[in-house]
Symmetry: C2
Subunit: 538 residues, 2 copies
């Protein structure tokens, strides 16, 4: 993973010319390229791990090779991949760094590390794929004397496969592509493809309640997880691996989404599916966003849910069309694609056995047409599929081009979607106008449910150099306050982390937050686990 | 509700003659009818509520009319409707009774009652429909000075309806039929039909993680619940009403299934569906249970899940066929129905818009036929539908006929179902053989998932008069120990209550149980909420 941005060092996806031009014109950019500082120039404080603590940690994980404090290791673990993380990193000024990076190889080693850290009062930041975009990986020691990054890279692999029950047990550090490759050998798939798929770890997905691009069909990660175990400073907590149970409150749902503040997820039992014989993605055009939403709502409420669903509003459709060739992304549709009219783009997709795909597609397409949709065919779908993991690469280019770029996301009921879209968009526009940087704000539904849908806002504006974080904060706070006021969720699929922690109480309630704190006090009595995340303070 | 059994006083459903004959022969019954004692002869201890406490409770709920200690009120709240509850009640010897029955009318009144009870050290047993069959309503004071039954009958009704988002907010005391009647006015349905539907409350369903007969299609109650609020002794805890969220651990899943030990669920936001234009239930015959399971597994894993699914094994099919006319139940199928061969019965059903039902049915039936099924048509389906709420009435007749009758239920992965069925059946048979009462044990899948299914064991044996509870305990313990040993769940849809509390730790783990206790200590610091339920002791 590139230390100052996203992805493999050998891959860059330059902006399409029409997209760059659109941004230059509409955002008032200067066209100057911005480069990150040199790796050696990234400023980190001196590592502050006491000798005894380091020795004990080395013993826990089987040697000094697995407790690292070199510059590169520390830089690579000094945060996640949020806009602010990247802005700071490119400037060589991350928010501190871990005093050491520790690599346990087994569940038992994790238990041992946590016991040591609890005794030595060392904060622990669990690190899976390193892809958090809500500050979940900030190496903040909180009230502790030092902080380690606990990298689960060695804790990878598939343990057992039950092809009949479609369940697989897997180590938490397993990365997305490695998991899918291992499952492919059994003709299976998890089907969990967040934008961060190339680097994400399955344990990280569980800890943050991740959602994949095909989660309308395959289910959110919390729906795929059948059982999970977590190592805490006081021992192991496991939620039994069952298809369903009425045995009290669901412990699984306490562990999932716990973002490392209760302990470290070390293993999971997940539901998989037979690898699809057929994948069919295509575009449907609608006159406007409301019409598209309404058609989608009817499809879903009639139980004809596609496996992939993305509905862009007018502005988002414009952005997608302009982004066109960015990152090798083919234009999802031209003017001809939208049949010469203005409108919005819906991408729908099905995966499964041939028969099942055809039957379900026919059902859904009949309803979408009835709802005003014009099927514009497979080209738009193929373009989407070809570039489905491109957006974080494109983001790097945007940062290099002087653009503030982020996605704020939430979810609401079907009745709430349109007023929420209007009010959040207005709040972001107002906040960035006040900064003197009028933005482009598009929005998109990317996951749909019987009762509502997610809503993701893409924000693009001229970055205020040297004040990027304050500028971003103005937009983020405006969006978050509006979301909370509307009774929508502060995060549909990124988690709370540090960036949403201030808003968590509004959603969880005072007694909800204090209940989670009571639980944390029970499992992490000295407060070493991931300080400052999930709940505003401990 | 009949105090000594199930249902309306004016409704009895006598055993079909072939069924009675089968039982007489196979279980060695004497054919003598057993009658319950007279209501006045039910023995209860003197009510022990202190004067000040009673006055404070009366103030909380708006007058003395809503705090009752008369014999009938106390008898009706002295337990649930488990086999043991009914055996004891028919003998006039319930496990104690509440010192008073308290009827709050609002969420605020519930909060007030719980604050009073916490201060006065009075145990509170929340009482919805009164249908628990796992001892969840036992009026045990635990360490407290007295115990009240908190009947939510006044806390009923639908608050708001959002037909576009298909969400409805509803008071927790609303009974099943009242809820469906209110929803019908909006052309909506919750579709949650447990066997206890006629009396069950929606809050009770939530507290016990109830599952309805059509939950394969409509979802378990925990899937239908979007938001929920609970009154605790220290205040209100609410889980926001959202289609989906990544904002930390799911508080909703802590409240759902909490069985009154954390507080009282007072209101819910549930997902509903448009009232089905079509309901189609039908029978499919298979040569044997394994074949039927395998066919069902394929259907579900190909995403062609029917809305209703019930697969009976050989013995259960025999019982169903013999039970025939019991309770007005038409024979689900005769020898002709199974096409003259031995075999097992699967009931499948679809509900929804005509198009959707037809499409989904065609997909599933194609696969079931391919899996060896013979479609035996709608008569079997209609027979099932006509008697879907009859079984607790029939149970009363069986008790009057001297039969031990109960259902033990669990869930497992598809790979685990067959060994679990074999081992649990063997354990029950062995335990009841040892009592000198060889049983009939049938089993049935009633809810299916991608990764596995529920499994319900119907147990019929000659009741040992005067030793019914010990005899039942022998069978229950044998079944529970076997279930736990297999790593299956101690309850798929009845909850833990008192009857499963001894087995909860095996499933939840030591740290799981202590975590729930830490949470309880936070929300119920004096331990007044439903003592002795869910967790073995506090």
């Amino acid at each position: 993973m590139r230390w100052w941005g996203w992805g493999r060092e050998d891959r860059r996806l330059p902006l399409a010319r029409p997209f760059a031009k659109m941004l230059d014109t509409q955002l008032g950019l200067d066209g100057r390229a911005r480069e990150p500082v040199a790796l050696a120039d990234v400023a980190l404080p001196e590592p502050a791990l006491a000798v005894r603590a380091r020795e004990r940690l080395q013993q826990s994980v089987g040697g000094s090779a697995w407790v690292r404090s070199d510059h590169v290791s520390r830089v690579l673990h000094s945060g996640g991949k949020s806009y602010v993380d990247l802005v700071r990193m490119r400037a060589g000024a991350p928010l501190g760094g871990p005093d050491a990076v520790v690599y346990p190889a087994t569940h038992e080693q994790v238990l041992s590390v946590l016991a040591v850290c609890s005794e030595e009062r060392i904060a622990v930041v669990p690190f899976g794929g390193g892809t958090s975009i809500v500050g979940g990986l900030a190496p903040t020691p909180g009230a502790q004397s030092a902080v380690i990054s606990l990298d689960l890279a060695r804790l990878g692999g598939v343990y057992t496969v039950d092809p009949r029950s479609l369940t697989v047990s897997v180590a938490a550090g397993t990365r997305g592509p490695a998991l899918e490759a291992a499952l492919a050998e059994h003709d299976l798939t998890l089907g969990h493809y967040p934008d961060s798929f190339e680097f994400v770890s399955i344990g990280g997905c569980a800890a943050t309640r991740s959602v994949g691009q095909a989660s309308s069909g395959y289910g959110r990660i919390d729906q795929a997880i059948q059982g999970v175990r977590i190592a805490t400073p006081v021992g192991e907590l496991a939620a039994a691996a069952l298809p369903a149970s009425a045995a009290g409150p669901a412990l699984r749902e306490l562990i999932v989404g716990s973002e490392g503040v209760l302990g470290v997820i070390t293993g999971l039992l997940v539901r998989v599916r037979t690898r699809p014989a057929r994948q069919r993605y295509e575009g449907v055009a609608f006159d406007n966003f409301q019409e598209a939403c309404e058609a989608l709502r009817v499809v879903i409420q009639d139980r004809a849910m596609p496996d992939v669903v993305r509905v862009s509003d007018e502005r988002q459709t414009e952005i997608l069309m302009a982004a066109g060739e960015s990152g090798g992304r083919r234009a999802p549709l031209g003017r001809r694609g939208l049949r010469g009219r203005d409108g919005v783009l819906m991408i729908v997709g099905w995966e499964g056995q041939r028969d099942s795909v055809d039957r379900r597609r026919l059902h859904a397409m009949t309803l979408l047409r009835r709802g005003g949709g014009t099927v514009i065919g497979a080209q738009a779908g193929r373009a989407w599929a070809a570039s489905r993991f491109a957006s974080p690469y494109v983001r790097d280019e945007l940062l290099g081009h002087g653009v503030l770029v982020d996605q704020f996301e939430t979810a609401s009921t079907w009745s709430g979607i349109e007023p929420l879209r209007a009010s959040v968009t207005a709040a972001i526009v107002e906040a960035l106008n006040a900064c003197g940087t009028p933005p482009l704000v598009g929005s998109q539904i990317s996951h749909a449910y019987d009762t509502g849908a997610s809503l993701t806002f893409t924000v693009l504006a001229r970055a205020l150099e040297g004040q990027e974080e304050a500028q971003w904060r103005a937009a983020k706070d405006a969006a978050s306050a509006t979301i909370v006021r509307a009774g929508a969720t502060i995060s549909h699929h990124h988690g709370i982390g540090r960036d949403h922690a201030a808003w968590a109480e509004a959603e969880l309630g005072e007694l909800g937050v204090s209940s989670l704190r009571a639980l944390k006090a029970h499992l992490d009595p000295f407060g070493v686990m991931n300080p400052g995340k999930l709940l505003a303070e401990y």
